[in-house]
């Protein structure tokens, strides 16, 4: 009844400050990418100058292209494997090695990236694999399929199982029941999983640095080596473009999860 009065002034202030803290730095970065002046301190008026310079930077464009290809490929494989893993964990009841399986899936979510990156590199060296596009793609698949599995699994967990049971009582075999009933219901989570995998791959610096080979730098590797040398307006421009791309992805993903009409989504940290 007194719902509105529960919100104290302290609550409002901490929310406002928190959101400002989260968003202001990014807004400032975007703003300065349109600054005509090379100096960060001086506002020289609006300009697309740094975007033009960016498009003449071959190395940056190549790195961006590499990153996009890796992100699409790894997100697609990761979505496939992650969805299968989620189905097995939430519908497979008990099976041998289940604890190890879930353990392997949840660990990479928090495992420091230097460990994952180093261990994958040693594997690729031992296998004598040529390092480049495919090694980075496989490394990213390994990381991101775990996130997909968690997203899809939490959706499967909140699903009413009597629906698929009804389909089977009406004569569907399990596979048919899954394809006809379960899959459409979890499709939004699968889409969201793909989007998350895509952005995580696009974002990753550490694992890519370990697993890539000479001459095939990804965008974060390229940005990182420039950032180490200091702030440059071109970097603001490329960062703004990446943010814009991710914003589009988020809009699509949130539309997808709207469709799933999930009430009070799980506590999964995603």
């Amino acid at each position: 009844m007194r719902k509105a009065s529960r919100l104290t002034r302290f609550n409002v202030a901490s929310l406002a400050l928190g959101l400002a803290f989260l968003y202001l730095p990014i807004l400032i970065l975007v703003l300065y990418s349109f600054n005509a002046s090379r100096l960060v301190t001086v506002w020289g008026g609006w300009s697309l100058r740094w975007y033009r310079e960016l498009f003449n930077d071959r190395a940056m464009i190549e790195a961006a292209w590499m990153s996009l290809r890796v992100a699409v490929a790894s997100a697609t494989i990761a979505t496939l494997l992650g969805t299968l893993a989620a189905v097995a964990l939430s519908r497979g009841e008990r099976f041998r090695g289940r604890t190890l399986f879930s353990g392997m899936l949840y660990a990479p979510l928090v495992m420091p990236e230097v460990i994952t990156g180093l261990s994958l590199l040693l594997l690729f060296v031992a296998l004598n694999a040529e390092r480049g596009f495919w090694t980075v793609t496989m490394a990213h698949t390994t990381l991101t399929m775990c996130f997909v599995a968690v997203v899809v699994q939490s959706r499967l967990g909140s699903l009413d199982r009597s629906l698929e049971e009804a389909a089977m009582d009406l004569g569907c075999n399990p596979v048919r029941a899954f394809v006809a009933v379960t899959l459409p219901l979890i499709a939004p989570a699968i889409v969201a999983g793909w989007m998350l995998a895509f952005t995580l791959s696009l974002d990753d610096l550490v694992i890519a640095s370990f697993t890539t080979g000479p001459g095939s730098a990804t965008l974060p590797i390229r940005i990182y080596s420039e950032v180490r040398l200091g702030v440059k307006p071109e970097i603001n421009a490329i960062c703004t473009l990446v943010i814009a791309l991710i914003a589009v992805v988020i809009v699509i993903a949130s539309l997808a999860s709207k469709l799933s009409s999930s009430q009070g989504e799980s506590a999964a940290p995603l």
Partner: protein, 304 residues
């Protein structure tokens, strides 16, 4: 009931492909890390002496076992650089996690008290930065914190300082970067438990005469402990091994373990020592990792 069991059989088959993948790309690589951490450094490509060569048969394998050496671990245990790096990593992670809890809790609490419709909006607003590139978010702070950056300009304009303050390459900058990057990881699990809490409990405590701080301390906080645990683990574990943030924002006089590992690997090309450092890091994180796994499992697999 029975159809549930029939459904489970093909569902188990779904595990095969991801299972094989994770064994191959997650579990087996650790065996290689362990193996190389026990071998000698060599100036070659790859830069270590091979330990096992399975093609050489059993005798060779026995000889290889005799050649295993714990030298790299002895080095890590005795060299101050590594000991300091581990201590610093843990200190930084503990401090940063405490800061995150202190800053994240009021925000999560505010979110949980919003009207239902606004809660969804607030949650999206907190998640969006998590999707935005880590590296870009750190870079955004370099923009702000640099010598003639926005922060110094504001401070100078307000006459709070008489000359620019050095922010970059300090621990302050590093903590700002860590808190900024990990805040969503702390807020979301906290919010999830706080939002599920029955408001009547707080109201009852208030009606019975408890002042607000006592209501919070005796009712709200204890009930939110599962969320606190999840948030703390989600932040603490990756921060211990963090590389990018300390590398770009902190000074170079005190390294965290992620940085020393990176340095050994990329600059010194000493793969065996880097591997040994990774193994020790893993051992340090084993207990929090297992706690985290249990939490995650309970959350995803048992009744929600």
């Amino acid at each position: 009931m029975s159809s549930r069991r029939i459904f489970a059989r093909p569902a188990r088959f779904a595990a095969i492909a991801p299972y094989v993948w994770m064994v191959l790309f997650f579990l087996v690589p650790f065996a290689f890390v362990l193996k190389i951490s026990l071998s000698q450094t060599a100036i070659a490509q790859p830069p270590y002496e091979p330990v096992f060569d399975l093609s050489a048969g059993w005798d060779a394998l026995k000889a290889a076992f005799a050649a295993l050496s714990a030298d790299n671990f002895r080095l890590i245990g005795s060299d101050d650089i590594y000991v300091f790096a581990y201590v610093r990593s843990l200190t930084v992670a503990i401090t940063a996690t405490a800061l995150l809890l202190l800053i994240g809790y009021p925000i999560a609490y505010g979110m949980a008290r919003l009207p239902k419709r606004w809660q969804a909006v607030a949650m999206v607003l907190v998640i969006v930065p998590f999707w935005t590139s880590f590296l870009i978010r750190i870079y955004a702070w370099i923009n702000i914190l640099q010598h003639d950056g926005l922060l110094n300009q504001i401070l100078l304009a307000l006459h709070l300082v008489s000359q620019p303050v050095v922010w970059l390459s300090t621990d302050t900058a590093m903590y700002i970067g860590i808190v900024y990057s990990y805040l969503p990881f702390m807020i979301l699990p906290l919010y999830a438990t706080l939002a599920k809490m029955e408001p009547a409990l707080e109201e009852a405590a208030g009606d019975l005469g408890a002042p607000p701080w006592q209501v919070f301390w005796l009712v709200t906080f204890p009930l939110s402990l599962p969320g606190v645990g999840a948030g703390v683990l989600l932040c603490f574990i990756p921060i211990v091994g963090e590389f990018v943030i300390p590398d770009l924002l902190a000074g170079s006089n005190a390294l965290m373990i992620g940085q020393t590992l990176w340095l050994e690997f990329f600059t010194n090309k000493d793969w065996p020592v880097a591997s040994a450092a990774a193994i020790v890091l893993l051992v340090v994180l084993l207990v929090p990792l297992m706690l985290y796994e249990r939490l995650q499992k309970r959350q995803l697999e048992q009744g929600r």
